[in-house]
Amino acid sequence: MSDLPKNAQCVLKILESTDSLTTKEILEIAMTDKFAKICIDCAGGDTFVAAADQLVEMGLITKKFGKGGYRWQLVKD
């Protein structure tokens, strides 16, 4: 995990302790004190979401579009 970029590490850490989250919820959590030190770019959000998208490509998380937008979820073994 430490090989991943900071934004990606942050997304994984946020999703570790929850079932699934919307994009807005992830960004809100990312901006809290607990996570602000791990990630960068969460204010604008676009590069942060791009990092989440890369995690989807790597098979580490999933995203599903539905009512209200996307929900992101950790892939559990």
């Binding site: 919307t22 994009t23 807005k24 204010a43 979401v49 995203k63 579009f65 209200g68 996307y70």
Partner: protein, 383 residues
Amino acid sequence: MALKPRQVINAMNEYYEQYPACGGRSIHKFGEEASNAYIEAREKFAKFLNAADESECIWTRNATESLNIVATSVKLPKDSKIVTTSLEHHSGSLPFIERARRDGLGIEIVKARSDGTFDIEDWKRTIDHDTSLVSIVHSSNVTGTITPMKEIAEIAHDHGALVMSDDAQYAPHHPLDVQDLNVDFSAISVHKMCGPTGMGVLYGKLEHLKSMNMFFYGGDTVSDVRFENGKILPEYLPPPEKFEAGLQNYAGAIGAGAAAEYLLTIGMHEIEKYERSLLEMVLERFRDMEHVHILGTDDINIKTGLVTFTVDTISSAHDVATFLNDEYNVMVRSGWHCVGPFHYQMGIDPKRGTARASFYLYNNRFDVDTFLSGMETLIEASK
């Protein structure tokens, strides 16, 4: 970020393949060719802006650097004030806010209206004889609204203030005539106008550039550096060289010149008209989409070819961008677009953000239809 035409790529490849040398310092053939191409590129760019003299065009890394050079180096009277707006890109406001903090100058913000336009009366009220500089975005990268620059420049000059025009969004899409607008400075971003990344231009009236302090010091900025009585004594060159220290991005400048020439050959009036025809298509269909809310005016006569919006069935604009990219291969930008103050002013949480679709000369009606179909599917799927 605009796509790059073959003419720009060829011009840059030609430099790297046929005369890859430093301009202005080497006497060999490659050096001579590089110097000539570098000079020619500046002439092309000066023509693009209708600058009175090519020495008024300084190559920079980007519009942000252009704005920072002015904010840092222009001479402003003690106790004067700088005026800027709530619609500025962070690169247009922060350098001036920091300058004001550095020198204890006043700073006043003209608030944009909710449609991204300005009330000219606000400018008349705010610009007074204490105002030394006005920094304004010419065309907003969020609302697309075009500022009445000529009118504001006149008000500023009547009060003895300088005008810094942020033309990053305006220059690629509209005819830009710095002499007619009578602005003192203009900042341009080349990557938005079909040119290479990492290139920008600072236009400045020669009299101001001559009197300004330098931003960087070093090689290629001097006519002589003597050593007398144990002291190093530099004599600096006039503009543009005094602002272009060290090895330059020759390929970038040549690419920028090629981009300027390419756009002028097509015609900036033609480009403006064409983009507005695409924009009109989008705005018409958007008016019928009840869940879409446009940020900024829908008057195409005072708007650049872009539309920024929110979708009330979606909790984040990033989801709009992700969906259109994944499902329709349509690339739009999402977030706060480096314009935090206006998002806060409009009560839009930056985490929710806004989505922005931009159109340029290479887009066509099919592209617009694809985007709009994507929007319809997105709204249906998110309800």
